[in-house]
């Protein structure tokens, strides 16, 4: 364990991390947001999903430092009397959960199909890649909107739809990397030993194509969180009772002109911070893990 830690601290990746202030900042911001949303139940002033803790008497309070604000609602409250800060903490948890789960789903499907496509080639390859081309000719957002419009709101549905709407990116990368790998001598050696195709793909192909996949997945988390926010904003994402950041922004936006700016600005700022810091980290990972740039 200690040996592993020492190795990690000596690695090129950590060296480059140490010397990049922007990435350090981004990771601290991201870590803080993730941490506070995971432990929302302990940090948030009240539970916005628990109707018993909500009172209509507290509706539309401005932030606590303004006139009419109360200490209980640091960032103000919404029409139902839910504290904006509490809702942000709970909502971020949903956004991040959807982001991670959808990327995991899309990544698994995409990488599997991509590796199969690249390794076997021929007709299998043509079928899978034509499917990808067809899907790519429709914007991801449009596919997601169409399916969600028919299927209705729901977190699990959202994860499945977003996951399956984004598999193409992973599939293409996985296919390309597999193609350049499949003629290497160590794959030939495995074939000569008689290792089964499944084992060759799992043991010899997958570990060697992971680097670009990890980079893509990182950037995709940010994009998926954005997509989730977009869908929720359009009223096709999470259920009304469990608002995510997108739904909060959509709710608040309707009241923006009546002066209740706090309903939009705070969740919007958190969304921007999440997406921005993930993108910064993703870009840095891409640059450092790419051997061609070294």
């Amino acid at each position: 364990m200690r040996e592993k830690l020492r190795k990690a601290l000596n690695s090129d990746l950590f060296y480059s991390y140490k010397n990049n202030k922007l990435v350090i900042l981004a990771s601290i911001v991201l870590l803080l947001i993730v941490f506070s949303s995971v432990f929302a139940a302990f940090i948030a002033p009240h539970d916005p999903y628990n109707l018993a803790s909500v009172s209509l008497m507290d509706s539309m309070r401005p932030p606590s430092w303004m006139e009419g604000g109360v200490g209980k609602f640091v960032f103000g409250s919404d029409l139902q009397g839910r504290g904006v800060l509490s809702t942000i903490l709970y909502g971020t948890r949903i956004s991040i959960m959807v982001g991670l789960a959808a990327v995991a789903l899309g990544g698994t499907v995409g990488v599997t199909l991509g590796m199969i496509s690249g390794y076997f080639g021929g007709k299998v390859d043509s079928v899978i890649m034509r499917m990808a081309d067809v899907q790519l000719s429709f914007p991801t957002t449009m596919i997601a909107i169409t399916v969600m419009a028919f299927w209705g709101r729901g977190i699990l549905k959202l994860i499945i739809v977003i996951g399956l709407a984004t598999w193409v990116t992973y599939a293409r990368t996985a296919r390309g990397s597999t193609l350049s790998l499949k003629n290497s001598e160590f794959i030939e050696a495995a074939k000569l030993i008689g290792v089964s195709k499944t084992k060759i793909i799992m043991r010899h192909v997958l570990p060697n194509i992971l680097t670009p996949i990890i980079v893509i997945a990182t950037v995709q988390i940010a994009q998926v969180i954005m997509l989730e926010a977009t869908l929720s904003f359009l009223g096709m994402g999470v259920p009304l009772t469990e608002p995510s950041l997108g739904l909060m922004i959509s709710d608040g936006y309707k009241r923006l002109l009546s002066g209740s700016w706090w309903l939009v600005i705070f969740p919007g700022a958190v969304l921007v911070m999440i997406v921005l810091s993930i993108n910064v980290i993703g870009d840095w990972l891409r640059d450092t893990l790419n051997p061609k740039l070294k």
Partner: protein, 322 residues
């Protein structure tokens, strides 16, 4: 009795052609191997020699089943490989292995030495899991890798060490026959002799039979019992090493041997290099494939393809000796 017999082996690779050519059903092929026959006796080393692109590696890979032959037969221990069931073919992988050219791409960079070597052992159940560690250590000892390196990754080794690990992997299934595809050409000169000697020691210890693929003639002279000279996917001359090296008969062999650098003789004066390039393997020349570059070429060479014939204790394919 020969361990491996190759009979009139052909291997063509389809060149991916454009849409229009495919419509007109005009597919072109790279003719990598054009009817090669040879056999290898148990315990001997046959070297395939020739310029790059003459089909040596293709033969090696086809013999091992990595490529499907276009035509021709391969017999192992008297049995036709194509007649074997999948199960028998799997069993055959225990007997035939390969040593690769590039030690940098022949080991999976994400696997430790232990995992690399245990894969063939597990796949073929050579030893039980309890005996695995002992078995791997013994193998590593045979190829000269220290046992403390068991948990290292390939990038922590030098080219020579990697090649030794690759050899240990091939030996793990206790093979009889090994195709060595230019096993030392990617290594430093100082390491080449070590690996070559290691291969010869292992051959003696395990009674291995080698199909040795090389273009370096001095290496071939060191390791082979018999030599086959190849050009454009054909064998031009095949026979005992001593016979062929002492007096080459085929004009191409002759030209090839003149190109060996020597320290003693004044080779520069009577050095005749070959004119021109190897013909395109997509559009094969008529007659003898070598006629465009041969200084003895006559009309018959341009029209009739020569057959392999017994001359001076070796087989030669040349019209000069008709």
């Amino acid at each position: 009795m020969s361990l491996l017999k190759v009979d009139n082996l052909k291997k063509y690779f389809a060149v991916s052609s454009g849409f229009l050519a495919r419509l007109r059903k005009k597919e072109s092929y790279v003719h990598a191997v054009n009817g090669v026959s040879f056999d290898i006796k148990k315990g001997e080393t046959l070297s395939l020699v020739g310029e790059s692109g003459c089909g040596k590696s293709t033969i090696g890979r086809t013999v091992l089943g990595l490529y499907e032959p276009t035509a021709g037969d391969i017999y192992y221990d008297g049995r036709r490989v194509n007649d074997m069931s999948e199960k028998e073919k799997f069993k055959l992988k225990e007997k035939m292995q390969m040593i690769f050219q590039d030690p940098y791409s022949s080991l999976n960079p994400r696997q430790k030495v232990k995992e690399i070597i245990s894969e063939p052992i597990r796949t073929h159940n050579i030893v039980s899991n309890e005996e695995m560690d002992d078995y791997i250590l013994k193998l590593l000892d045979k190829v000269g890798i220290d046992e403390s390196y068991l948990n290292r990754y390939p990038h922590q080794f030098s080219g020579g060490q990697r090649q030794r690990i690759g050899i240990a992997r091939s030996l793990a299934v206790e093979p009889e026959f090994i195709v060595a595809d230019e096993p030392i050409s990617a290594l430093d000169v100082s390491i080449q002799a070590q690996i070559l000697n290691l291969m010869m020691d292992l051959q003696e210890e395990f009674h291995l039979t080698y199909l040795f693929i090389a273009h370096d003639l001095s290496v071939v002279k060191h390791i082979s019992d018999r030599v086959a000279i190849m050009y454009l996917g054909k064998v031009f001359e095949i026979g005992d090493k001593k016979e062929i090296f002492d007096h080459p008969v085929h004009p191409y062999t002759e030209a090839l041997f003149v190109s060996i650098p020597k320290l003693t003789e004044k080779t520069k004066e009577n050095f005749v290099s070959l004119e021109g390039d190897v013909p395109d393997p997509i559009y094969l020349p008529s007659g003898c494939y070598f006629h465009s570059r041969c200084k003895y070429a006559s009309n018959i060479c341009r029209e009739v393809e020569p057959e392999l014939k017994e001359i001076d204790g070796r087989q030669v394919a040349c019209h000069l000796y008709d």
